[in-house]
């Protein structure tokens, strides 16, 4: 364990990634530590002020402090993207596991269903679902989970098919272990690493997609300080009041890439071919 941590933190990018993620998680739990402004507080006297000592990242067209909106927005963005991925992971793992382990008819049925979901580009399908259900943050979350589980199911199924051939699974069966026990106690823990890596990288993608949905007007509604939503309204102020859409955009980029670094190093760490 200690050696794994040492390897992990010897990578500067991963270390930075972890710091950034930790920072934003802290921000989402306790935003009051970071700012004393109200993200919804309208103050038309101070509208569209450039970054200053009073407003670190400037104000928007309602006079709200951009920095505070970003801080409060982290709560939404991070909790929702993590939830989306975890739901997809939960559904996908169970479904993929059953499909891979029991095989035959069940496998065919499940795989054809995943084919349907995977046939569409993720974003387009999510758009369609949100448009049908009505615009809201929760609906976007639902839509993305519905779109995402199929990938996890495929991955899990592949892992299960390989793990099924391992000798200790035969041994488990020979000693009378029941099917579902084999699946959850023996196969799943050994399939864990690729799933973990995919989860980290997907959180990064989820942040982008969620913000993307808000951006095109299908996710969070104003005045919710979701980062993508801020950029939607801030777009028209790009010229002249550059700070408005730029900083939320940079934040999305930063957090997304932080998860990416962490996931990448994790994948190196968990790669069984690594000798050190």
């Amino acid at each position: 364990m200690y050696r794994s941590l040492k390897y992990f933190f010897s990578n500067p990018l991963a270390t930075i990634g972890v710091i950034i993620i930790a920072l934003f998680v802290l921000m989402s739990i306790a935003p009051q530590l970071f700012t004393r402004y109200d993200p919804y507080g309208i103050n038309t006297a101070e509208r569209l002020r450039p970054p200053s000592f009073k407003n670190l990242l400037g104000t928007d067209e309602m006079g709200r402090d951009v920095y505070s909106r970003i801080v409060y927005g982290s709560r939404l963005t991070i909790s929702f993207s993590v939830s989306v991925v975890l739901i997809a992971l939960a559904i996908g793992t169970v479904v993929g596991g059953i499909s891979g382990y029991y095989g035959k008819f069940v496998d065919s049925v499940i795989m054809r269903s995943t084919d349907i979901f995977l046939a569409f580009p993720m974003f387009v399908l999510a758009m369609a679902i949100v448009a049908a259900l009505g615009r809201s943050l929760v609906n976007s979350m639902l839509a993305l989970s519905l779109v995402w589980w199929a990938q996890y199911a495929r991955l899990m199924r592949g892992q299960v098919l390989v793990a099924k051939q391992e000798l200790y699974i035969q041994a488990a069966r020979a000693t009378g272990t029941k099917g579902h026990v084999i699946l959850f106690r023996h196969i799943l823990p050994n399939c864990f690493s690729p799933l973990l890596i995919k989860t980290t990288l997907d959180i990064s993608m989820a942040i982008l997609l969620l913000s993307g949905l808000s951006f095109i007007g299908l996710g969070a509604e104003p005045p919710t300080p979701e980062w993508g939503a801020i950029i939607t309204t801030g777009r028209k102020y790009l010229i002249g009041y550059w700070w408005y859409p730029t900083f939320p955009g940079l934040t999305i980029f930063m957090v997304s890439i932080a998860f990416n670094f962490v996931g990448d190093t994790l994948s190196d760490l968990l790669d069984p071919r690594r000798t050190s």
Partner: protein
């Protein structure tokens, strides 16, 4: 209806065919691998039957069939008087309490993410046996029985050597107090010195617990020491079946004779001067075994009858069976 005579396991016309699925088979006809073809043998209570043969002759498959891990294509397996093929799924599971297996590879036969104590305790859990403390106690006891320190219960498989891991595998096989154990090449992947230790352990356990073994191996040097009787397999068929001593003293089947001659003698002085009548040719493909006697492509005593008729296992002398036209 319990068996009153000494037979614990009996195989009757045991056959296992694997189909090689290819789209071409719609045109060219099905390709069938005759892994095990009409095996007939029995194993007596308390004895060790050695099963030897080249890699790919079907010995491991035979072991798996006897355990119920795979379903035979045809034939019967009678365990302790009951035909196991007539058992439902539940009965089959219960049957596993009476017969267990020791695997060949001690490295991959243990779950790398489970502590070895848990691995053994889970065997008890599978059948809802004992309380948690009792399971722990019995697992510790089993480890001691195979010569491991019970304190190592909390360690992971990779912290043990090959020989130790094989001992853990043996402990796991003993957990349910089975009567019959299939040992599938249990020492093939171990160092020679460790092999001896494990073989002695198996022998001691057999005496202590009254176990019956099917000892599958390709190593002729060790099978003599552990077995009471030996069956020699070739391409899915038994070609000779006899008591160990008889087999080594007077092997009747040409294949057995060649096998025994091929075993190196530990003294280089003698070994180098031996006239080696080595076996020629290659193992025919199990997809297309030779007609008649399967060994005829590598046999020197060839006659027209050998390619026409398949020799059946006949008794020649006391409890010594051979499948050859020339005996």
């Amino acid at each position: 209806m319990k068996n009153r005579n000494g037979i614990l396991v009996q195989a009757k016309h045991l056959t296992k065919h694997y189909e090689v699925k290819r789209w071409m088979s719609l045109i060219t006809g099905k390709n069938i691998i005759r892994a095990v073809d009409g095996l007939n043998f029995s194993i007596l209570r308390g004895e060790t039957l050695g099963l030897v043969g080249e890699s790919g002759c079907g010995k491991s498959t035979t072991g798996r069939l006897l355990l119920g891990l795979e379903a035979p294509t045809s034939g019967e397996i009678i365990f302790d008087g009951e035909n196991i093929l007539h058992c439902g799924r539940n009965a089959l599971r219960q049957l596993k309490r009476k017969m267990q297996v020791i695997f060949q590879d001690p490295f991959s036969s243990l779950n790398p993410r489970m502590k070895i104590g848990s691995t053994i305790e889970w065997v008890f859990k599978n059948f809802d046996l004992y309380s948690r403390e009792e399971r722990r106690r019995r697992a510790a006891q089993l480890l001691e029985m195979v010569g491991l320190d019970s304190k190592s219960m909390n360690r992971y498989p990779h912290e043990f050597s090959g020989g130790q891991r094989q001992r853990i595998g043996i402990a796991r096989a003993l957990a349910l107090q089975p009567k019959f154990i299939v040992a599938d090449e249990p020492v093939s992947s171990l160092d020679v010195s460790i092999q001896a230790q494990i073989l002695n352990l198996l022998k001691d356990l057999q005496n202590e617990l009254g176990l019956t073994y099917l000892f599958i191996t390709h190593d002729l040097r060790i099978v003599k020491h552990v077995s009471d009787r030996i069956a020699v397999m070739y391409l899915g068929k038994i070609v000779e079946l006899a008591k160990s001593d008889s087999l080594y003293e007077s092997p009747k089947h040409p294949y057995t004779q060649k096998l025994i001659e091929a075993v190196p003698f530990p003294d280089p002085g003698i070994e180098l001067n031996r006239k080696g009548v080595l076996i020629t040719g290659e193992l025919p493909s199990p997809l297309n075994p030779p007609s008649g006697c399967r060994f005829r492509t590598r046999c020197e005593q060839l006659d027209p009858i050998c390619s026409r008729e398949e020799p059946l296992l006949k008794e020649t002398g006391e409890n010594h069976f051979v499948a050859c036209h020339h005996v």
